[in-house]
Symmetry: C2
Subunit: 119 residues, 2 copies
């Protein structure tokens, strides 16, 4: 059951949202998929990305992923195909915060047009 979801996720090049997942599993229930994603996330198999599209998307974590403050990579949201990609090779640059601000995590989403839509 969850196996199926994991299979799908591992075959995706782009991050996938819950509604999208619902569509490709016509049979399965929204709540089930929702809970599946949640447990995956708790177990650090996947991470979520808020790309501002209104739906949170999910993608597999890298092997090395600690899912801790510094595992962080930049995400790219294509405004044409509306897909979201992990730029695993692009770490989030460090930021100088004002005094007395402590850093927990960073969400960095770059929008633009991806290679496939560039033509």
């Amino acid at each position: 059951m969850r196996q199926l979801v994991l299979d799908v996720l591992s075959k995706q090049k782009a991050a996938i949202s819950l509604p999208e997942l619902e569509d490709m599993f016509e049979k399965a229930d929204k709540a089930t998929l929702y809970r599946t994603l949640k447990t995956f996330e708790e177990n650090k198999l996947i991470h979520h990305i808020d790309d501002g599209s209104g739906a949170v998307k999910y993608a597999l974590c890298q092997e090395s992923c600690e899912c801790e403050p510094e595992d962080l990579h930049v995400h790219f949201y294509c405004t044409v195909c509306q897909k979201t990609f992990c730029l695993n090779d692009t770490p989030v640059p460090s930021i100088n915060l004002p005094k007395d601000f402590s850093l927990e995590k960073v969400n960095m989403v770059v929008s633009g047009i991806c290679a496939s839509c560039q033509k």
Copy 2:
């Protein structure tokens, strides 16, 4: 009417969400406030920030603000008081995108604990 909203916005230190606005204007309608914010945004008076809290927040633009790709500053979301601040002095660092990816805009939200909640 919109004057009131503008007044409130200019008095805020933190960005404000639509639902929050609704609360402080018990009298006014959600739709009105919503449309007000939209027109303000079209006229580049304010900009919106998606801090991942589930509600989009709005804050005044700086005088110099072009609201174009490079006006961009980092935003800070405090996980304690759940307020969002513009770090106007902290520009978004530039990113090297993979080949054939074009850049339109960048959303960068740093989460952590703000100075006031730090004690």
